[in-house]
Structures are given as structure tokens and as C-alpha cells.
């Protein structure tokens, strides 16, 4: 994990993306927020988030891995576990 990146920073990035793309209040998004049940996000929304994270953090998320991400916290975990070391 990059020493410069904190969990809060990744969380802020995910929250910013979801708030802008799904047009929801950023304050309503926390680590336990479920994409489908709480944000009414569909598979297309999840792909867009995944691609945003791939572009931002230089990670690669497989189809299978993407399908297993159900909450905001899981997305943050994935980034922190896979981001290349600085």
C-alpha cells in the first residue's frame, strides 16, 4: 500500500464519485452503505466506480472481484489491498 494513502483518502474518493454519479448526498455514504440496496446502484454504476478506481489508483479489478464488492467499505478495502507500492 502506498504510504501516502490513507483509508480516509480512499473513502473520500469513493464517496465523491458516488455522490456525483448517483446524485446522492455524500453525507449519506459510509463504509456500510450497500451499493444496490442503499444507493439503488446497478451493475453499470458499479463498473463505472471500478473503472474510476482503476484509473485513479493504478489497480486492476477482475470481473469476479468486482462482482464480490457489495459495500462501500469493501471497495475501499480492495483499493488498499491492491494499490501498487510507491
Amino acid at each position: 500500500m502506498s504510504p501516502d494513502m490513507t483509508r480516509d483518502e480512499v473513502m473520500a474518493k469513493v464517496r465523491e464519485h458516488l455522490a456525483a454519479e448517483l446524485e446522492v448526498d455524500a453525507a449519506e455514504i459510509d463504509e456500510g452503505t450497500r451499493f444496490r440496496d442503499d444507493l439503488d446502484a446497478d451493475s453499470l454504476d458499479l463498473y463505472e466506480l471500478v473503472m474510476e478506481l482503476e484509473d485513479t489508483y493504478g489497480i486492476k479489478v477482475s470481473e469476479e472481484e468486482a462482482a464480490r464488492i457489495e459495500t462501500v467499505g469493501q471497495a475501499v478495502d480492495f483499493v488498499l489491498q491492491h494499490v501498487p507500492s510507491a
Binding site: L22, E23, V24, D40, L44, Y47, E48, E63
Partner: protein
């Protein structure tokens, strides 16, 4: 000729046309002769003689109908359709055209260009030539989304209306829902709820329901369906037209008198045929993205490819994307505003004049 100053540049995927690379090259040449910029993404060995005003961008990998679109687009960054879509996203071109796999073209365009802010789902819109009127009917969704919710259909109505106004020049397009009866309340819960929401919608001229038989009759300027219904309806019409045309040809050659009648009718029928030829309209357009993407029919000839490029360029010139975004915002038809549109008693829609 060289592209005109300020003319849109269109990125063209050279793979996937039934007629091969020569069809793409000929179509690109015809469009470039209008002064449009064209960047063709394909194999240099097959496209060596494109002509002036056309830039060849090397691409040797292609995504076919046999590939799973999402997986292929994400895992093959050097595929022609992916490169062409990225060319638009990065601003070197202003619009995308492909006659290859529809799924790959839609996916590449969606991932590279992204949805317009506030759009749930993009929709594939086709221009249906209508014998009885001088302008086509815009029909969507022709298959981008096999499952839809009421709010998706509501947005499709706005997407179609904005495109019809911007590109087809219809000042206040009349928009209808495709279902099984004209009366309100006819159809699936999806259609009934969408009807209720559209009946209260602002900024759009909702004409109510139409039936399948009304499609080729041109009963409205824009006709909306979910992608499953839309694709079945479209393919049914194409198949019926093809079978009917073959039957007419058989009848016209069934004997000396019929042949004489066919000969007399030939000039009139030739004009009608040209008007109804799918190549004339250029292709389907993916609405709801932040860029222009046109999917030409795989069986397009050079004229069809050229017209697809022209349609893409016209969409850029007429600011179709910007005007769509403006209509959605002005009418309160963005995602946030429609969040409760699935509820029959509330759409959350604002007064567009407020």
C-alpha cells in the same frame, strides 16, 4: 479533400462490417469528401489507400459478436473499437462510428464516453423510415437494455425528444409509449407506471400510447419501449419488410401481365426503396452518453457508412449532447429528480420554468 476548418472529426472502427474493410474505406472517403475529418482505426495492410482527409490509426485487434462485450472491452485496450472510443473520450475525435459488434460498440462507448450526468441508462435509438411521411420516426430503446424500470422509460422519452429536436429538426416532437392498446392503463406495470409519469412530465409533448401497428404508420415522432420489446419489434418489422418485399418481387415476375405491371411501377418503387433503405439513415445512435456514438448496421454499404459518419457529425454540430443535458436538467428528468418515479404518485419533477 482536407477537412473543413472546425468540421467535426469522426473516429471510425474499421472492423466488423459484413462487406469488409473496403466498405468502410469507401464510406469514409465519401464522408471526407463532404469536408468531415475521419480517423479510421484498422489494420494498415488492409487500409493503405484511404485518400486525403482520412487519417489511419493502426489497430489489428478486433472484438467480434462471439466475444462477451464487457470482458472483451475491459481486457483488450488495443482493440479497434476501444481505441476509437478512447480517441473520442480524449478529444482527438468528436464522435464514434462502428459497424461491428453492437454490444462491443455500446460497451466501449459507454465505458470511454461515460453517461451524461443524471442519466440512468443509455438507450439505442433507430430512425425508422416511414412510407407515409417525409421524416423518420425515432424509436428507442432498440436493445441496449433488456430490462427497464419506469424511470428508465421516462428518461428514454427525454433522450429521444432531445435528439429529435436537435438532429432531426422536429421543433416539438410528439413522444409516445409502445404498448398493447391506446388507452391509459394498457400494458405491463412498467408501461402503465411510465405512462403515468410521462402524463405529468414537463418539457415534453407526451402523446400517450401507441400499438405495434402504429410504428410504421408514424403515429408519433418518438416512440419509446424497453430494450427487449424494442428489439423484438424492430426485428419483426425488418423481417416482415424483407419477406413482403420478396413476395412482391415474386408476384411481379409471376407472369407476363404481372411483369409488365412491375416494369411500369419500377421507377416509383425505386424511389420508395431508396427512401426506406436502412443505409439512408446511417445507423442507430446511443443516446445518454457524454459523447456521440453511432452504430451502423453490419450490412451497411459504403453509403450506409458514409451516412453514419454524417449522422455522427451532424449530432456534434447540432450540439445533441449538450441539448439533451439541458432538457433533462430543465425538465427535472435527471436521476435524482426521477428517483421516486417508480412510485405511481410521485415523480419529484420540478417545474421547468421555475
Amino acid at each position: 479533400m482536407s477537412p473543413e476548418v472546425g468540421a467535426p472529426t469522426v473516429a471510425v472502427d474499421a472492423f466488423g462490417a459484413d462487406g469488409g474493410f473496403e466498405v468502410i474505406a469507401a464510406g469514409a472517403r465519401a464522408a471526407a469528401s463532404d469536408g468531415l475529418g475521419v480517423r479510421v482505426f484498422g489494420p494498415p495492410g488492409e487500409l493503405s489507400d484511404l485518400g486525403r482527409g482520412i487519417e489511419l490509426r493502426p489497430a489489428t485487434d478486433s472484438i467480434s459478436n462471439d466475444d462477451e462485450p464487457v470482458r472483451a472491452v475491459r481486457s483488450r485496450p488495443d482493440a479497434s473499437i476501444v481505441l476509437a472510443a478512447r480517441d473520442v473520450a480524449e478529444g482527438r475525435s468528436q464522435a464514434l462510428v462502428s459497424a461491428g459488434s453492437t454490444g462491443a460498440a455500446m460497451t466501449a462507448a459507454l465505458f470511454a464516453l461515460r453517461r451524461l450526468h443524471g442519466v440512468h441508462r443509455p438507450a439505442l435509438a433507430v430512425q425508422l423510415p416511414v412510407p407515409s411521411r417525409d421524416r423518420p420516426v425515432l424509436f428507442l430503446d432498440a436493445g441496449a437494455n433488456t430490462e427497464a424500470r419506469p424511470r428508465h422509460l421516462v428518461q428514454f422519452a427525454y433522450l429521444g425528444a432531445a435528439f429529435a429536436a436537435a438532429v432531426l429538426g422536429i421543433e416539438r416532437p410528439r413522444v409516445a409509449l409502445l404498448t398493447v392498446g391506446e388507452e391509459q392503463g394498457k400494458g405491463t406495470p412498467l408501461v402503465v407506471e411510465a405512462h403515468d409519469a410521462l402524463a405529468r412530465a414537463e418539457g415534453i409533448d407526451f402523446a400517450g400510447n401507441v400499438e405495434g401497428r402504429d410504428l410504421p404508420a408514424g403515429a408519433a415522432d418518438v416512440i419509446v419501449a424497453d430494450g427487449f420489446t424494442g428489439n423484438v419489434a424492430l426485428k419483426t418489422m425488418e423481417g416482415t419488410a424483407s419477406a413482403f418485399g420478396a413476395a412482391v418481387r415474386d408476384a411481379a415476375t409471376s407472369g407476363p401481365r404481372a411483369a409488365l405491371g412491375g416494369l411500369l411501377l419500377r421507377p416509383a418503387l425505386a424511389g420508395l426503396r431508396a427512401r426506406l433503405d436502412p443505409d439512408t439513415t446511417g445507423g442507430a445512435i446511443l443516446l445518454g452518453l457524454r459523447g456521440v456514438a453511432v452504430v451502423a448496421h453490419g450490412s451497411s454499404g459504403p453509403n450506409g457508412i458514409a451516412n453514419a459518419i454524417r449522422l455522427a457529425a451532424r449530432s456534434v454540430r447540432e450540439r445533441a449532447i449538450e441539448r439533451t443535458a439541458e432538457l433533462l436538467e430543465r425538465s427535472g428528468a435527471t436521476r435524482a429528480s426521477l428517483r421516486d418515479a417508480d412510485e405511481p404518485n410521485g415523480t419529484g419533477r420540478r417545474d421547468p420554468n421555475a
